[in-house]
């Protein structure tokens, strides 16, 4: 177990029960894995001004959400850099749930509260109210369907529903996740005995699908293969939306939101650095924080996340480099223990789940 933002979290579950990062990762790609993601935070905005409040603090366009729909977005500083990335769920006419990162919970809540005072809405910090369990992988739908009366096949990706799960009524079920697979995230009341019972029932019901519990290690390698951003790595208070390559989640055409003027300026000024995906060409594994060098050995950027990719079976990394080094096929070097090791810029996402036929 490791300390993770105040939570005791397993990096991986024991090999003795068939786990380990690679096994856990492969289970999610090919079958199903479950994650205890109770450390994630939750902020609810409700009331007549809730939509306006969400629109003001979120870069995506919440007005496009139907009740029961979710979207990826981010909270931005006036500079156009990241407070955090979030998933905005529209639960009711005037009822929004923002799912936020563990390490930024308190900061996010204060920021949301302070920046929505002018709107007629209630802001609640519900992080400690839920045990959140993610059920990820192509067989996740079959597994969860055994335990709920909700018709999961009717729930599209990035939509939510409610149903009875493991005998608990009115449970929020989102078809979302952080593994680049199909999957669900369920929000159950944060009662220890209940949570443990549900966790064990999922494991038991999932035996026929080869379900395994997955830790932080697999969560990281899965999201890295899918090139999904992690706060403090690909996104932070020094990186703006354009640099992070999250343009498609930022709706400049919607009415004003915090960060928009700065992003307009940044766009006019042009991109200086950008996030790229690289694959190691020579032997070696890039790790978070390693320097990126040009051919002559000068430092030009840095690795934000790097790891062996268990499903793709190559060593991959995300890195910030000057835009002139960002073209697909460009070669760069990663400084690994004093040596410049060759790597090549390749398209991201590294992994895309196959489309259903």
């Amino acid at each position: 177990m490791v300390e993770f933002n105040g939570w005791d979290m397993p990096v991986e579950y024991p090999a003795s029960i068939g786990c380990g990062i690679v096994s856990e990762h492969m289970a999610v790609r090919t079958g199903v894995g479950i994650f205890d993601v109770s450390h994630m935070g939750d902020i609810r905005l409700s009331g007549p001004g809730a939509l306006d409040a969400v629109q003001h603090i979120s870069m995506n366009d919440a007005a496009r959400l139907a009740v029961g729909q979710a979207q990826y977005s981010a909270l931005l500083y006036p500079e156009g850099t990241f407070v955090d990335d979030v998933i905005v769920h529209r639960l009711g006419q005037d009822d929004y749930l923002l799912v936020i990162n563990a390490g930024t919970r308190e900061k996010d809540f204060s920021w949301v509260r302070d920046n929505t005072r002018q709107f007629n809405c209630r802001v609640e910090h519900l992080s400690d109210d839920f045990t959140q369990i993610a059920i990820q992988g192509p067989k996740g739908v079959n597994l969860l369907q055994k335990l709920t009366d909700a018709n999961l096949s009717a729930v599209k990706f990035y939509w939510v529903t409610r149903g009875t799960v493991c005998g608990l009524r009115d449970i929020l079920i989102g078809r979302t996740g952080y593994s680049a697979e199909d999957g669900f995230e369920i929000y159950i009341p944060a009662d220890e005995a209940t949570s443990a019972r549900v966790w064990n029932e999922i494991l038991e019901a999932g035996k026929e699908f080869g379900v395994v519990p997955c830790g932080l290690g697999a969560r990281n390698t899965l999201r890295l293969e899918g090139s999904l951003s992690l706060y403090g790595h690909e996104i932070s208070d020094t990186i703006n939306v354009w640099e992070a390559g999250l343009d498609r989640f930022c709706k400049m055409e919607k009415p004003d939101f915090i960060g928009r003027p700065a992003l307009e300026k940044a766009r006019a000024a042009g991109l200086k650095k950008t996030l790229v995906g690289v694959e190691m060409v020579d032997r070696g594994i890039a790790r978070d924080g390693y320097k990126v060098l040009d051919d002559s050995g000068s430092e030009i950027g840095y690795v934000t996340s790097g790891s062996p990719a268990p499903f793709l079976k190559k060593n991959i990394a995300l890195a910030y480099v000057p835009t002139e080094h960002a073209a697909i096929g460009s070669t760069v070097k990663i400084e690994i223990r004093g040596q410049g090791v060759k790597a090549q810029v390749i398209p991201i996402p590294f992994y895309k789940r196959p489309k259903k036929s």
Partner: protein, 126 residues
């Protein structure tokens, strides 16, 4: 896990035999998880007791290898370059380098199998 008694152990989780064969312990491989890369010195390299002489990487982390004793590398286990996962399967059978010991007395203060087992047990409990 019972640790073989034909060798000595370090608190950095390497093992070494009396003839200078070096590897990492079962506890070390278990803590590292899936090992994907072993970076070892070339034959002829001088290594120094207590100093790093290579690295072992798992999916989750990179970890230095510390020399249990000083000496000159005489042989490197090339099989680990293509099959590093062997270390996970059999840490005590997967040697990494062999060295010509500079001073066999350097092995004296190292841990016995039973002392190491106790030490690793305490580490795991943390």
């Amino acid at each position: 896990m019972t640790y073989p008694t034909d060798r000595k152990y370090t608190k950095e989780h390497e093992w070494i035999t009396a003839d200078g064969t070096i590897g990492i312990t079962h506890y070390a491989q278990e803590s590292l998880g899936d090992i994907v890369f072993v970076d070892m010195p070339k034959v002829g390299t001088e290594i120094t007791a207590g100093k790093t002489f290579g690295t072992v990487e798992s999916v989750k982390a990179v970890s230095d290898l510390y020399a249990p004793a000083s000496g000159t590398v005489t042989e490197v286990n090339g099989a680990l370059a293509t099959a590093p996962e062997q270390v996970n399967k059999d840490a005590h059978g997967s040697w990494m380098v062999k060295i010509k010991l500079k001073d066999p007395n350097e092995l004296n203060p190292l841990l016995s199998a039973s002392d190491y087992e106790k030490f690793a047990g305490e580490e795991a409990g943390h």
